[in-house]
């Protein structure tokens, strides 16, 4: 299996990650839980490129976070936390897949290696197995609601949020591009998030009667 390339999405927020790691190492498991919430979808998406079975994806993701938790004291902070976590995820997935290869009954359905070489591969186009129709529908509805809420945003709010979430620019860079103070950037991003959250949160709470 060829190695996954380094992540191209730069979450330039290593300072808060480092602070959360510090708290987690000091024994605050809740701080680590916040890191899990932050990165679980990204890690699952990464693993999903290697494994099609959604249950297996979650198992590998869980094992990734457990391994990272056990090795947290080794995280020096000289690299971004996500980069470090990314490596653990890749290695964990490889180990899982190596173990699965020994079981020929699951070889053909539980993983595929083509996604690495297939440039047209997109998680959007690839249905995952073992997902219920309801969960697939719920995910699609949430994605549609987010996109609709983004489209309804004022241009300056949408631009600020897009520059932050998709381009990965920090507030200073966004302020330079939009020719406004950093405080204005911070406010615009917050207001954009709140506007979208107002549409999405009811759907999230409706789908599950349990708090995340």
């Amino acid at each position: 299996m060829t190695e996954q390339p380094f992540p191209t999405e730069p979450p330039k927020d290593s300072d808060s990650d480092a602070l959360l790691v510090q708290r987690a190492v000091a024994g605050d498991q809740h701080a680590y839980g916040l890191l899990v919430v932050k990165y679980q979808r990204r890690i699952q998406r990464l693993i999903g490129r290697m494994v099609r079975d959604v249950d297996l994806v979650e198992d590998i993701a869980q094992e990734t976070f457990i391994r990272a938790y056990r090795a947290l004291h080794q995280f020096r902070g000289d690299a971004q936390f996500y980069t470090w976590l990314y490596r653990i995820a890749i290695n964990t997935a490889k180990k899982f897949l190596g173990d699965l290869q020994r079981d020929r009954t699951v070889f053909g359905t539980d993983f595929k290696l083509d996604s690495e070489k297939d440039e047209t591969y997109s998680p959007r186009n690839e249905p995952t197995t073992l997902e219920t129709p309801e969960s697939v529908l719920a995910a699609k509805e949430i994605a549609a609601a987010v996109n609709a809420a983004l489209a309804a945003l004022p241009e300056d709010l949408r631009q600020a949020l897009t520059l932050r979430e998709i381009e990965g620019l920090n507030y200073e860079e966004i302020a330079d591009m939009m020719n406004c103070p950093i405080g204005t950037v911070r406010s615009r991003i917050f207001r954009a998030r709140e506007a979208v959250s107002a549409k999405v949160k009811p759907m999230l709470e409706k789908q599950t009667d349990k708090r995340w």
Partner: protein, 213 residues
């Protein structure tokens, strides 16, 4: 429950890692204990993932995943940072600090290249081979049938009757055996020469010479 907008704005900045240091700790403390803050933390990150990937994950699967994670983490224990930091520092310091630690033998620079024990063993073996070769070669060169050395097996009586002469000087003490001295005197022609009848100086030094020599 703290629903002040400025708190959520700080949370939004924390999500981006753009919160000033003096506000980080307070916001994290609030986030650790406030359910609405945690809900917003989750939603902000979900929003970012949807924007980047175009897809969303199923909320109930997310919630189930977090429940399993929390259960798994509850079984884990993490070592305090201080202990590991100290251990790692000690491990890193050790290679450079040999000279300061008594009793620890600093390896020689060429230890990896020369195994001195092997050299000593080979040298001893070589000496034995050379001595044996000299003895055989001298006998063959003289064309005489090999003479069997008359071994006088010392009996207890003979040993007891023979006085032992002990060298008493600054050189290492050797207890002399007259029978050995007699044997050496009888076979003196074999001493001090190499297989090629040339003087082998170092071998002559290897025998203790008695008064008869």
């Amino acid at each position: 429950m703290n629903l002040l907008p400025e708190n959520f704005e700080r949370l939004s900045a924390l999500t981006d890692g753009q919160l000033p240091e003096d506000e980080e700790v307070q916001t994290l403390d609030w986030l650790a204990h406030d359910e609405d803050a945690q809900s917003s933390w989750n939603t902000y990150h979900l929003l970012g993932e949807v924007m980047r990937s175009g897809v969303a994950t199923c909320p109930d699967r997310d919630a189930a995943f977090m429940q399993r994670m929390n259960a798994a983490l509850a079984k884990e224990s993490i070592q305090p940072l201080q202990i590991d930091a100290i251990k790692n520092e000690a491990i890193q310091a050790r290679p450079q600090d040999f000279s300061a630690i008594k009793g620890i033998k600093t390896p020689a620079a060429n230890d990896a290249f020369i195994h001195w024990r092997w050299v000593g063993g080979l040298a001893a073996l070589l000496a034995v081979v050379v001595v044996s070769w000299q003895g055989l070669s001298a006998g063959l060169d003289q064309g005489a049938a090999p003479q069997l050395a008359q071994v006088i097996v010392p009996t207890r009586q003979s040993v007891a009757a023979l006085p032992l002469v002990v060298a008493r000087d600054e050189t290492p003490v050797m207890i002399r055996d007259p029978q050995l001295d007699a044997f050496l005197s009888a076979h003196k022609q074999f001493g001090g020469t190499s297989a090629f009848q040339k003087p082998s100086g170092f071998l002559s030094n290897a025998v203790f010479e008695g008064d008869a020599r």
